[in-house]
């Protein structure tokens, strides 16, 4: 199925959740949806037999640099061999996105990484801890954010060169 057809299927059911569909995006077509509806849409995409998106290829966090954070979902169907991209955008003051961990188990660590690097809160995640940085890394310090400043010391070790 082509991305436009997949978009039409989503539109039938989740008209109110759609923010923007870009069929002519530079890399590949994507659909931006509201952050509190992402889980419902993902569940639909997985369970609908004609879509059958059974594989979350990648879940990445993004800092757009203008006070907006985002999450990008690359999903794939092993059965039909088609792919699709979903995006959500959230304000940096309140970066809350619904977790898709209950839809695809592989989202568990991906979401922990997005939380660790960008501070995006995934609502409904069973175990939202840091995954790459140490557990005692300063609260509210997220390394891949544009405004991140390296702390002077960590556990008595000087970090800057």
């Amino acid at each position: 199925m082509q991305p436009t057809e997949i978009y039409e299927r989503i539109k039938e059911k989740f008209e109110d959740a759609i923010v923007e569909f870009k069929p002519d995006a530079i890399t590949e077509p994507y659909l931006e949806v509201k952050p509190d509806r992402i889980k419902d849409i993902c569940e639909f995409l997985r369970d609908e037999p004609e879509l059958a998106f059974d594989y979350l290829m990648c879940l990445s966090g993004v800092d757009y640099g203008n006070g907006t954070l985002g999450v990008v979902y690359h999903i794939y169907s092993m059965k039909h061999a088609h792919r699709f991209v979903l995006k959500v955008k959230v304000p940096v003051e309140n970066p809350v996105v619904k977790s898709v961990e209950s839809v695809w188990k592989s989202a568990n660590w991906h979401e922990r990484e997005a939380y660790d690097m960008f501070g995006i809160i995934f609502e409904g995640h069973p175990d939202l801890r840091r995954i790459l940085m140490p557990y005692d890394w300063p609260e509210g310090s997220y390394p891949l954010r544009k405004d991140f400043q390296v702390p002077e010391f960590y556990n008595g070790m000087k970090i800057p060169y």
Binding site: L132, M133, P134, P143, Y154, N155, M157, K158, I159, Y161
Partner: protein, 171 residues
């Protein structure tokens, strides 16, 4: 060295100094802590394989820090790993030696500016005896580092202060 020069004819007696015999014993069987942190570890493994044969220097990889004399820090020391490296170093019995292998362990390497997660040089947590530059250094460079360390141990004294670190020159 002089160890064999002063051997008495037809007798099983050797005259030497305590320092000489201690240094000789130490430099001849440097058991190394078996661990690697990044791509430098691959070169370290190559150095211990048959082609470069690190064992001809009496170096045997040892899996326990309690029975190791030499720690080769081969790779990027992340902040998370730094406290573990320090703990392992503290668990090694004296006398103990450290070779810092590769740019990352020497000074942070490619992560020196934007590496929020990398310790900029392992010498910030443990004292280093020999620095081996390279990214990653070839096994020959590591072998030269080991030879430099052996020379350094040979010059050691029980009463004098610890010798300063040695640098393997980039060629």
């Amino acid at each position: 060295m002089g160890l064999l020069d002063k051997r008495f004819e037809n007798e099983n007696i050797v005259i030497t100094t305590v320092e000489d015999v201690l240094n000789w014993a130490r430099l001849s069987s440097l058991w190394m802590m078996q661990f690697g942190l990044a791509c430098c570890a691959i070169e370290m493994m190559a150095a211990s394989a048959s082609h470069f044969d690190i064992m001809r220097f009496g170096i045997i990889p040892r899996s326990s820090p309690r029975q190791a004399d030499l720690m080769i820090v081969a790779g990027t020391v992340t902040l998370k790993m730094a406290s573990r490296v320090k703990r392992l170093y503290e668990q090694m019995p004296d006398p103990k030696y450290v070779i810092s292998m590769g740019s990352c362990a020497n000074c942070g390497g490619p992560y020196w500016e934007h590496g929020y997660h990398v310790l900029k040089g392992v010498d910030r947590v443990i004292p280093v005896d020999v620095y081996v530059p390279g990214c990653p250094p070839r096994p020959e460079a590591l072998l030269e580092g080991i030879i430099k360390l052996r020379e350094k141990i040979r010059r050691e004294s029980i009463v004098k202060k610890k010798l300063p670190p040695v640098y393997v020159e980039e060629k």
